[in-house]
């Protein structure tokens, strides 16, 4: 049984607003170009910052000469770590480790690391001056690959590793000094050796995922200014304003109430805009200059700021002759780049799901967050899970085919069902594992014959299913305010970066209060106005903030009903809230505004509802890595594809894409559908062609000209989305998060379909035409030589 900290969150029947296909509240603002983004913010007297970045991957800084840059007409100042240290004596930040300096101190650890900043009122002047800053480096041995870095004893990225202690759940996970292992997580469930001994067959494979980039179209941007009292006001394109406030306050040694952080709509986030990105630097610049400062990244700079972990996964699986998985041992090395960012959390939170959605007697998992001299890696839509699903679902097909079993049957046989323990020891509940798999089978017409073609174009189909555990522990707080006329504002820190949270939260509040979602106003995150929220990440908002908003609305409802009961003399239980007011048993109806007016003798006052949600969690046992309450809910996603493979070029074309996701309850079915399909297409880019290519740590394709993302022509011919609703007992109206669910299964589904088409297995994404053709030629015994 799940435990719940807050009362009244058991799923309730919606009253009409939840489940309604409401159009996004900000639709007109977005189509007219009026929607507010921090990208648009310019302040009078503002300085613009341009960053001087390291050109080498690993080096000691011998000296920085800023004189020529400072001498360029129009340059206001050039700032280095020396200046930062005067306002922030210990300028290291990070959510898991305090390992990242605001500007490089003594050492650089990746190409693109900020070394100095030029300030000017004209951004072109600042940009020009960055080329005039001379930095002298003494190069050190770099290390780039996660497995090499794991083993290396000579190329050490951090001399001392600095855990932050922010997350209670990570406290048991200790770094190893004098190595590149930032953190490791181990799970031991059952007698793995004995279970392997029972297996008829043991399979071992290694799979790799490449570095990719989030590439939100709104480049990351921060504007900071001092207020009249010398406090800080930070406007930032952040997914985590509460965290930014806490962390900037910590860096400055200030109380939180002296730092105000606000956001607007985000032009995409996908994990790129979490924790501290530019905020600490820009805050320091505003303090140093006493002027408003703006820093907006170029597309190229985004590649050097945050990436998705490359990962190597070695997975060993023991199966019986009849296709039961009895043992699994999985080792994962996460390429965290030069700074930990949220990598340690990825290592643990994703690490513990590495055995997949399967019911396995004994499981052993090892997961390592490894420092390398590449740009830092963080969270990207799926928090590491797609890299693991890539491994375990590719291997699922390999095993099924070796055993002569149908890949669907193999999964059916092993799928983890509700009521059974997950590898962590947490009992699976309210998770649509079976439902998603069966819906996938149905949509794919899996039991029907499939024409694989002959000649140049071959056809194949593949499926895959993955689970993700919602990140825990996390907290959301919301206020619902009924204003004096009875209109409603919802104050919540969830950042709408395109996932439609404003609309979903309005629907939840409206449903409780008998309003129309369109009449509810969402007040955007501003730490001076909206209460705490851990962050907008990991598909957590619908569940956590949705619950907080629901509780806040319930609280407001209870208060206005009590007021009406007092005014009319009826028992509160006899009063019905609907249509923006309260109906009494005698047939009268009082609007919220009328109730408030009666109370105050005029149009005045507020009714303020407060909701706070913090699901129950038990951190993993340090010995076994297990926990009975590892997550508040599970996300389950499945993908099916049909592909055409060109035997002469290796080119893969997805002709049909089926994305299935369990959302518990679709608060807004249209938005759920778009989130599933959007995640699926994004993952398609990561699967087929997106890849950050490095040369000695330098990204050789750091632009949209050379790092291609999916466009109109890359759409599958047929695109289908299927929503599965297995309600969660603690979800608001049964809902679970859905933002990443579409990402989970796509990569292995495509690889499995390629195998089905041409009998070739690819172990490393992206599945470029060259890789496919090369593997095919090798199988045919005809390679080629490079000229």
């Amino acid at each position: 049984m799940s435990k719940v900290m807050e009362p009244g969150v058991q799923s309730a029947a919606p009253s009409g607003q939840v489940g309604r296909p409401v159009k996004r509240l900000e639709s007109a603002a977005k189509v007219t170009g009026r929607a507010e983004y921090i990208h648009n913010l310019e302040l009078p007297g503002m300085l613009r910052a341009k960053v001087v970045r390291s050109t080498v991957a690993h080096a000691r800084i011998r000296g920085i000469d800023t004189s020529a840059a400072k001498a360029l007409p129009g340059v206001y100042d050039v700032i280095t770590a020396e200046d930062i240290l005067k306002v922030i004596p210990d300028p290291y930040y990070g959510p898991a480790f305090h390992d990242q300096p605001i500007l490089a101190i003594d050492k650089v650890r990746h190409v693109g690391e900020p070394v100095a900043v030029v300030l000017a009122t004209d951004v072109h002047v600042a940009d020009q001056a960055t080329d005039l800053v001379e930095v002298e480096y003494e190069e050190l041995e770099p290390v780039f690959h996660e497995v090499e870095a794991y083993k290396s004893q000579t190329a050490i990225v951090h001399d001392v590793i600095r855990p932050a202690g922010t997350f209670a759940d990570l406290k048991s996970l200790q770094p190893r000094n004098k190595t590149n292992v930032a953190m490791e997580y181990h799970l031991r469930n059952g007698d793995v050796d004995a279970a392997f001994a029972k297996a008829d067959y043991v399979f071992e494979h290694t799979f790799r995922s490449q570095q990719v980039n989030h590439l939100p179209l709104e480049p990351t941007v921060t504007v900071a200014q001092l207020t009249d009292t010398g406090n800080l006001l930070i406007h930032t394109s952040s997914q985590s304003p509460s965290f930014v406030r806490i962390e900037v306050a910590r860096l400055l040694g200030w109380p939180e109430n002296k730092v105000r952080v606000r956001t607007a709509y985000l032009g995409g986030g996908f994990g790129a805009k979490l924790y501290i990105k530019l905020e600490a630097l820009v805050a320091a610049l505003a303090l140093i200059t006493q002027r408003p400062v703006r820093l907006s990244l170029t597309m190229e700079e985004q590649f050097y700021t945050i990436t998705r972990h490359a990962a190597t996964v070695t997975i060993r699986t023991g199966v019986t002759k009849d296709g039961r998985i009895v043992a699994r041992d999985c080792k994962t090395w996460w390429n965290g780049g030069a700074y930990a960012d949220i990598g340690p959390r990825v290592t643990q939170k994703s690490g513990f799901t590495a055995a997949g959605p399967y019911d396995i007697e004994a499981v052993s998992l090892d997961s390592y967050a490894v420092y390398t001299n590449l740009p830092p890696a963080g969270a990207l839509r799926g928090f590491g899970i797609p890299q693991l699903v890539w491994a375990y679902e590719s291997q699922a097909d390999i095993i099924a085919r070796e055993l002569g079993m149908d890949p669907l049957e193999f999964r059916r046989k092993n799928i983890l069902r509700n009521g059974r323990p997950h590898a962590t020891g947490t009992i699976l509940e309210d998770a649509g594992t079976v439902e998603v798999l069966e819906e996938l089978a149905r949509k794919m017409n899996w039991d029907q014959p499939f024409d694989r073609g002959s000649g140049t174009i071959r056809r194949g189909r593949g499926i895959a299913i993955g689970v993700k555990a919602a990140v825990s522990p996390t907290t959301s707080v919301a206020f619902v305010n009924l204003y004096s006329d009875g209109s409603c504002g919802v104050y919540c820190g969830t950042v709408d970066m395109g996932q439609g949270s404003d609309t979903a939260m309005a629907q939840i509040a409206a449903d409780v209060l008998g309003l129309r979602a369109e009449d509810v106003r969402i007040i955007h995150p501003d730490t001076e106005v909206t209460p705490y929220d851990m962050a907008t990440l990991g598909s957590r908002s619908t569940f956590h903030m949705g619950n907080a908003v629901r509780l806040a609305a319930e609280d407001a409802k209870q208060k206005i009903v009590a007021m009406c009961a007092e005014q009319t003399g009826f028992d509160p239980a006899a009063l019905v809230v609907r249509d923006g007011g309260v109906a009494t048993p005698d047939g009268s109806f009082f609007t919220f505004g009328a109730i408030l007016a009666k109370r105050h003798g005029m149009q005045a006052g507020n009714v303020l509802g407060v909701g706070s949600y913090f699901p129950y969690y038990e951190k993993p046992n340090p010995e076994t890595g297990m926990s009975e309450h590892i997550t508040p809910y599970w996300m389950v996603g499945g993908t099916g594809v049909e592909v055409e493979v060109d035997m002469e070029t290796g080119k893969v074309h997805i002709t049909r894409l089926v994305t299935v996701g369990d959302c518990g309850k679709a608060i807004n079915p249209g938005i759920v559908r778009r989130q599933l399909s959007g995640a699926s297409f994004m993952q398609m880019g990561f699967t087929l062609f997106e890849e950050m290519v490095f040369d000695e740590g330098q990204v050789v394709n750091a632009s949209m000209a050379d790092y291609k993302i999916p466009g109109f022509w890359d759409l599958p011919d047929i695109n289908e989305v299927s929503i599965v609703e297995v309600p969660h007992r603690n979800g608001p109206f049964g809902a679970k998060g859905i933002g990443e669910t579409g990402s989970l299964g796509l990569s292995p589904a495509v690889a499995n379909a390629i195998y089905d088409a041409i009998g070739v297995r690819i172990y490393e994404t992206p599945l470029t035409p060259e890789k496919v053709l090369k593997a095919l030629r090798e199988k045919q015994g005809q390679g080629w030589e490079d000229a």
Partner: protein, 174 residues
């Protein structure tokens, strides 16, 4: 520093002037001088379409266009297509078909779709993909955008028919 020069042009139908530096691009000038925030520099390479502007009636990438060169030209941005109170048919269609998520690429998408429908009132899926292939959406709302362009085409055809009927009626009445 480079010299400023004053350029005069029409912006969304009204004559305007602005002092610009030769190396300033059209996105920078339109935002700095006129707060045209629908015009956004994202990829900076003319590939994503977030900076789409019409110059003399033709869509261009504002991030690759020197502001000084619009002297004497007619410039239009998404702000000129419709307002919150009166959306254009293409804007309405994007809302009805949910052709966006984060909304950052949306004005550019709508500018291109509007121009496509001026040139081709009844485009096929293929023709839409061809015309819009230079606009990227990281949220990947592509299927909904294609649906929105079809919906907008229907709306525009319907309003043309209504106009034609009204003209006919006017002629008869006259």
């Amino acid at each position: 520093m480079a010299e400023y020069r004053t350029i005069r042009f029409r912006l969304n139908g009204r004559p305007v002037e602005l002092a610009v530096q030769p190396h300033e691009n059209l996105v920078e000038a339109l935002r700095r001088g006129f707060q045209m925030y629908s015009v956004r520099e994202s990829c900076g390479q003319g590939l994503c379409g977030c900076c789409t502007v019409y110059v003399n009636g033709k869509a261009v990438s504002g991030c690759l266009y020197l502001a000084a060169l619009v002297d004497g030209c007619d410039v239009q941005t998404a702000e000129g297509l419709g307002t919150l109170q009166q959306l254009s048919p293409v804007q309405e269609a994007f809302i009805e078909c949910e052709g966006f998520q984060c909304g950052f690429c949306t004005p550019g998408m709508i500018m291109m779709a509007t121009q496509l429908l001026q040139e081709n009132p009844n485009p096929t899926d293929e023709e839409i993909k061809h015309y819009m292939s230079g606009n990227l959406c990281r949220c990947a709302a592509y299927p909904e955008i294609i649906a929105a362009v079809h919906r907008a085409a229907e709306k525009l055809r319907a309003s043309k028919e209504t106009d034609a009927k009204a003209d006919q009626a006017a002629t008869v009445a006259g």
